[in-house]
Every structure is written in C-alpha cells, then in structure tokens.
C-alpha cells in the first residue's frame, strides 16, 4: 500500500488528465457523449486522486518519483504542501470548467481539439505543480505554453491569430530567458532540487552578483506568465480565446504557474533569508506593487468586460508576488492563500462573463444593464466575485489583504498597506459600477431566457466556494490553514 502510494500516486494523477486528453483526439467529432463522459470522468478521477494526495502530504508521507533523462537532467516529482495547494486548485477548477465548457461549446465544430488540449493543459499544470526540481519545472512550464497555444487560437479568426501571436512572442521570450537562467544556476550550483528554506548549495555559493543576475533572469522568465509589468502585454490580448480558456487558463493556470514559480524560486530555491540578504526582495516588491496599481488603472478604462477582467487579473496576481516578497510568515501566508482565493474568485467572474456572452451576446459593459433581472443566478455569482476582488468580507479576498497588510507592517514596509488600500479603492471603482448596472439599471433587453444549466451552475459553485473560503477560513483544511502550514514549514 505504501509502495503504491509513494511511487504510483503522482504518475497516476498526471495520467488521469493525459490519457483522456490523448484519447479525445482519436474520437469522432460527432461523438459528443463519448467525449463528454471521457473528459468529465477524467476530471473527477483527478480530483479523487488529489484528495488522496492531500491526505498523504498532510501526514508527511514522502511521495516522490524520479526518472533520469540525461546526465545531470533528472525528471523529479515530489509532492509537498505547496504543490498540493496548487494541484488542488487546478484540479477542482478544471472539473468545474470542463462541465462549463461542455455547455459553452455545444455548437462548436472543433471540440475534440479543444478538449484534447484542455486536458493536456491540466497535465502540464499538474506536472509543474508537482515538480521537485527546477529542471522538471521548466520542462512543464514550456509544455504549458505549447498546450495553451491551440486553445488561444481556437476560434481561428484573424483576431484569434493575432492574439495567439502576441501570446507566443511573450511566452517564448520568457521561456528562453527562464531556460538560460536555470541552466546557468545549475552550472553554478549543481542539481536544483527544491528544498524548503532554500537550496544549501546555492546558499553556499560565493559569488553573490551572479546569484542576483540569475534571480533577475528567473523573475523575467516567470514574470511573463505571471503578467508582471512590463511583461503583461499578452494577457489582455489573449482574451480572444473562448471563455472557458480565459477562465481556467488565463485566470488560473497560466498566470498562477508564473506566480507559483516565483514563490518556488523565492522560498525553495533561494530561500527567503538569502533573498532578503541579497536585497532581491525590494525590487520584487516594488514591481509587484507597481503592477497592482497599474493593472487596476488600466482596468478602469476598459469597455469590454473580459478585457477589464484581464487587467484585473494582471493586478491581482501580483498580490501573490507581493506576499512572497515581504519577509515574514504572515505576509507569506497572505500571498499564498491569495493563490487560491484569486483563483476561485476570478474564475467565477470569467465564467459568469462567458455565460453573459454566450446567452445574451453581452460583451461590452454598457450592455450589462439590468442583467440581474434577466439572469439572476449568474448575476449573483458575478456580484460575489466582484466583492471578493474588492476585498469585502466575508468573501475570500479580504483574508488575503488582511494578512498582507499585517505582514507588511511587521516587516516595516509601511507603504504596502497604502498600496493595498489604493488598490481596493480602484477595484471598487471598476467593479461597483458593474454591480450597480446589473442590479439597479433597467435592462436593455427583456428577453427571459433559459440558458443551459451547464453554464449556470459552475460559476455559482465557484462563487459559493469563494464565499466558503472566506467564511470558513479558520476551519481545518481551509486554504488559509493550508497556507499557514506551508509558511510554517518554510520558516522552520
């Protein structure tokens, strides 16, 4: 039993999305039933296996798998608290988004291609979450770019092609910078297996200017996916993708992969203390703070709903980076827990926006008047999401801001709570008008609709999850408690 658990669980989790993904390509395009059953059961299986994983990591089992690919290059999967954090988020949201996508793409002609690559994206995300060394992480990080490309370009229109080209320009550039930085680090220090608190060999490396240079390279490479200023340009353009893609990938998987990578680098490669000593945290927190404000300012000017949400993502993901860049357990907890909170809240917003677009052809903000009356369930979900983004209790977002502010004050960075406040105000400035329009303006159209339940329930469920994560933050197994566990193991 223990053998199976230790060596079999991680590959199984990867296969539970890989095999359905590859199989879907071989199905007939017209075979809806087989395809839907396949992808949904694959997603369910992944969630189940992740449940086992949570149990295993909580009880500190050593779950690890290795495969030597070449001299010095070993594929290593290792499940620790941080990887479980990210894997759980990805797998649960994947299940909900798959159900949503089934409803969204009913009239689409390329669903095999879509679901195939959709599943492969999950495999690559899980792969990088479970990566136990930087080599494996980089491998799956690049694979993520490749798996998301067909999804961004899915519609095949001139706009989609343009969006995909922009996406590739940024991500390939980031990928090469990341690759060179990691190769350099491995040449300098040796094998780069993640170690809580920082890799010993790295901490013992005498030439700190090289360490600083490599750190900058790593942040640039990771910062592209994470949409840090000035590498964020691809994200608003990638909104041409179908709503499930924007929701899961660009609100959750891709941007989180970048943020997750930065968290890994700061905590499990360099270690927070070395990062502090080298003065790296100042620069990182400055860029994160700038991105937070910049993203919000740009969001204010957008008239297209999805693009406004995209700029909001640019802003919000930097909270995670900010949390990583402030020395102290409380701030770490704040940044980490935002990984989950931002994920569920943002996906709620994107799914709801997709439902609006698909059923009512609402894409611009001025078309959102009175939607509360026409589509109440979706609008409730949207409102909860918006409140979460602003940070209104009891929805999940406020926990993050609380911990971040507290941690910053402890670390003597008094400007951070100011930034957080400005950001909250800006968030309110670009979300509250939407909520107002939805509920308090008379509708432009009075069509009563019956949209597919597949498009209604997923955003509602994620909204409930966002509410629960905030309300029950103190409960066992909550994202907050999990984040505290990670931070505690880091600062031990």
């Amino acid at each position: 039993m223990n053998e199976w658990l230790a060596h079999g669980l991680l590959p199984l989790i990867l296969l539970s999305s890989l095999i359905p993904g590859l199989t879907v390509f071989l199905l007939k395009e017209s075979n809806h039933l087989a395809r839907n059953v396949l992808v949904i059961s694959g997603a369910l299986l992944t969630v189940l296996l992740v449940g086992v994983l949570i149990w295993g990591v909580y009880h500190e089992y050593n779950l690890e798998v290795r495969w030597q690919l070449a001299p010095q290059l070993e594929l290593l999967f290792h499940a620790d608290a941080l990887s479980v954090f990210f894997v759980t988020l990805s797998s649960v949201l994947w299940l909900l988004t798959t159900i949503y996508a089934v409803g969204y793409l009913q009239k689409d002609k390329k669903t095999n291609r879509f679901f195939g690559f959709f599943s492969l994206c999950v495999t690559t995300t899980v792969g990088l979450a479970l990566a136990g060394n930087l080599f494996t992480f980089v491998l799956f990080y690049e694979l993520l770019t490749l798996a998301t490309f067909p999804l961004v370009i899915h519609k095949g229109s001139a706009e989609a092609v343009q969006g995909a080209k922009t996406y590739l320009k940024y991500t390939l550039f980031g990928g090469v910078v990341l690759l060179i930085s990691v190769v350099a680090l491995q040449v300098m220090v040796g094998p780069l297996a993640f170690q809580t608190g920082g890799i010993d060999a790295l901490k013992a490396y005498p030439y700190s200017q090289w360490l600083i240079l490599v750190f900058i390279g790593l942040i640039v490479g990771l910062g592209v996916k994470c949409a840090l200023f000035p590498l964020h340009g691809w994200l608003p353009k990638a909104m041409v993708a179908p709503a499930p893609v924007s929701a899961l990938l660009h609100a959750v998987a891709v941007v989180k992969a970048g943020a997750f990578g930065i968290v890994r680098v700061v905590y499990d490669v360099y270690g927070i203390e070395l990062a502090q000593q080298l003065g790296l945290l100042y620069g990182l927190s400055a860029i994160a703070a700038f991105t937070i404000i910049y993203g919000s300012l740009k969001a204010l000017r957008q008239t297209n709903l999805k693009v406004r949400l995209a700029w909001s993502t640019v802003s919000q993901v930097s909270y995670i980076v900010l949390g990583a860049a402030i020395f102290g357990a409380t701030a770490t907890v704040g940044g980490l827990v935002h990984l989950v909170h931002q994920g569920i809240t943002k996906i709620t917003l994107f799914l709801a926006a997709g439902t609006y677009a698909e059923t009512l052809k609402v894409t611009e903000i001025r078309q959102m008047d009175g939607l509360g009356r026409i589509m109440p369930a979706t609008s409730i979900a949207f409102t909860i999401g918006a409140l979460g983004m602003i940070g209104v209790p009891p929805v999940a977002g406020f926990v993050t801001k609380w911990y971040l502010a507290d941690g910053a004050i402890n670390a003597g960075m008094y400007w951070v709570p100011v930034v957080l406040m400005i950001s909250a105000l800006l968030n309110a400035a670009y979300f509250m008008p939407l909520v107002y329009r939805i509920w308090f303006k008379p509708p432009c159209q009075t069509i009563a609709l019956s949209p597919s339940p597949l498009l209604i329930w997923p955003p509602l469920i994620t909204a409930m999850l966002a509410l629960a994560a905030g309300l029950f933050a103190a409960a066992p197994y909550s994202p907050l408690e999990w984040a505290q566990l990670i931070a505690e193991r880091e600062y031990r």
Partner: protein
Amino acid sequence: MNNLLLSLPVFIPLMAAVVALLIPKQGALLGRLAAFLTLAITVQLVAEVYQSTELQMMAGNWPAGLAIKLQVDGISALFLLMSAVLYVVLSLYANQYFHRLTQRSDFWVLWGFLFTSLHALFISGDLFNLYFCLELLSVSAVGLTLLSASRDAFKAAGRYLIVSLLGSLLFLAGVAILIAKFGAADIHLLKELVANDSQSWLAFLLMNAGLMLKAALFPVHFWLPATHAVAPAPVSAALSALVVKACLFLIMRLWLELFLPLLTHQSAMVMGSLGTLAILLGAWQALIAKRLKHLAAWSTVSQVGYLVLFIPLLHNHQGSELYEPLLGAMVLMALTHAFAKSSLFLCIGRIQHAYGHDEIEGLQGLARLMPVTCFSIALAGLAIIGLPPGGGFLSKWLLLSGAVEMKQWFYTIAIAIGTLGAGAYLFRLLCIAFANQPPGVSLQRVTLSESPGLVLAIGATLVLGFFAYPIWQLVGSAGWSL
C-alpha cells in the same frame, strides 16, 4: 560472426542496388526488404556493442579481397542505427511516392548505393575507404536529386555535384598527404602518429575544408537550400537527415579522434564562430522563407551550426565531467534532428501532393484539413527548436550548460536567438495552420501514408525525449573520450 555482422549493413543495400539495376521491376520490393533486414542486423549490432566489454570490433578482409577495415564503437553504432531506422521508414514512404516506372527503377538503385555508402562511412576504419564512401555518397545523392527532373533540379544538382566533387578532392588531397608522410591510412594508427607539424596541419585543413563543403557549414552552405528544396520529399529527408550528418560525423571524427593534438583553442573557436553564424543565418532565412521546403532546408543549415558549436565546447571541457554529457548531447541532437527533419520533409511531401504547392501563406486551415500531418509537423518542429518534450530539449540544455560553464556569452546569446528564431518560424507556420480555412479550398486525395511522418516525429520527441539515457552509456565507451 562479428565479420558478418559488421559487413552486412553495407552489403545488403549494395545487393539491393545491384539487383534493382538488373531487375527493375523488383527494385521496390527488394529495396524495402533490404531496409528491414538491415535494421534487424543493425539492432543486433548495437546490442552487441552495448553489451560487450570490449566495445570495438574489427572486420577482417572483405570477401572480394579489398582490404577494408570496418570497426564499430558506441558512437558509430548510434549513427548506424539512426541511418537504418530512416532506411526503413523512408523506403516505405518512397514506395508510395514514386509512381512512374522509370523513376522507380532509378530511385531504388541510387537509394541502395546511398545507404551502402552511408553505412560504410559510419563504420570505416581507414581514410581511403572513407574517401571512396564520400564519392559514392555524393554521386548517389546527386542522382537522387535529379529524379525531380525539373529545370531547377538540374541547376541545383549541377551545383551540388561540383561542390561535392570539390569537397571530395580536398579530402583526398589531405588523405594523400597523410599517406605520403606517415605511410598509413588506418585511423587508429594515424591517431598516434599525427603531430603538431605543418604537414599534419595542411592535411587537417584540407580534409576539414572538404567536409565543411559537404556538410554545408557556413560560409559554404549556399548549395544546400536549393538542393534540398528541389529534390523529391524522401530524398530531401535523406539529404538533410543523413548525408549532411554523415559529413558532420566525419568532421567530428577529425576533430575529436584523428587530429586531437591539433585541436587548439583558436582552431576550435574558429569553428565555433562559423557555427554561430550558421545558427543565426539559418534561423533568419527560415523565418522569411516563403516555401515550406526552403524553411526546412534553411533550418538544416542552422542545425549544422548547433552541432559544430559542440566542437569548441568539447575542446574546452576535455577531461572534465561535462565532456561525456556533451558528447552524448551532440549525438542526441544529431539523432533528434535526423528523425525530426525527415518527418518534416515527409509531411511537406504530403502537403505538396494535397495542395499542389508548399507556399506557407496558402496553408490556412491545415490543422483541420490534415490534422495528423499538422500534428507531426508540430512535434517535429518542437524537437528541432529544442522545446520539450524531446531529445532536442535535453541536448540544447546540455549545449547551453557547456557554453555557460565556459562563460562564452557570445555562444549563449546565439543559441538563445537561434532558439527564438526557430520558435518564430515554427509558430508562424502553426498560426497559419490553425487559422480558419478560406472558402473554396479543396485538396487532392493523398495516397501517401501519414504514418511514416508521425512515427518519426514521435520518435524524435517522446522516444528520444524520455528513453535517451542509454545513449550516454554507449558514448562513454567509444574511443573518442579521453
């Protein structure tokens, strides 16, 4: 037994060629049969080399009485395997590609001679034999190029012929100097005798120049794009994947085995600079190419640059723990490129049959119209760029490690730009392929199977990406390590 095992990979294709000459109608069947047989023998050979504690085997006299020495070590076994696998896959594809009887009969004769010379080249142990192989290789390759029978083909093949003959002459001149000075043509003997004197240097420069011409290393790469673009698809595949590799293999043998005492920092850096320029020029030209075949051919020019870049790295890391990983990485890169580039050309062949052209701008909607072909192109492209999964990723990582370790930022930046350029030209193609197809596009039915391209692409990425570790064990036992 060893004698038989060694000589068969050379003998079987030769027989196939001769029989195809005498009985044209059976050429195709025998050609494919020969390919399968050769692969089986080669696998056996590689297994022997892998297992035996003494990893070199000598063949005695050739049955006909010419004193030819054949030997196999870990590295040549791997190149031989690469050639044998492609022999099978390309033969199957070629069988469907060539319809007209005159073309068919000519093809199988020349094809047999091509593989005879290739296999003999990989396992030859003496220089004169190598010269003979190079000549036969050139003649077969030029002949195969001419099968397209178009005006462009005549021009390109003519240029190729002149370049090849010049290259062989230079090589022969170098060999003649060595034989005159040392009285031996056996590589193992010469290895000990070569010293840092002017005759050895002259021989080295002549032979190196000749091989550079044949391998299309910058600045003498000018003949390659036209030639590879104009040849029939399976021939282009063989040219890019095998003929160029064989010449690169010999360049490596010159630098790392035969003329090791002459491998100085400066001479290695010269090759490194040429390699760097090849990488950048090839990537740029591939990016602006209008036709798929030109894209693929310029990509080969770029790849030759990457492989040559290993020379200064290997020189610098002699005796260090990075030497064997780098050597194995070079072999892996060569193998990956061979499979990936062949796959690419085979797919282009299908596209040409379906669309009637291979203009990149005209391929909108390829992903929906020819999904398997598009997928193979994508996989093959990934292997060539060096993105995961695939042997390309691993070998590129190790190449970068070597460059960074040497603090050679010039090389590092060139590799980075080359990688980005390759990414750009692949994704330019894929963006067009995934775009919606314009109305009114109808394709011809294609009788060529999609499997050869797909199998090779999967081989380059998944097989070589995950199961390549034995390569280093084979490489470690070759006589090239110090």
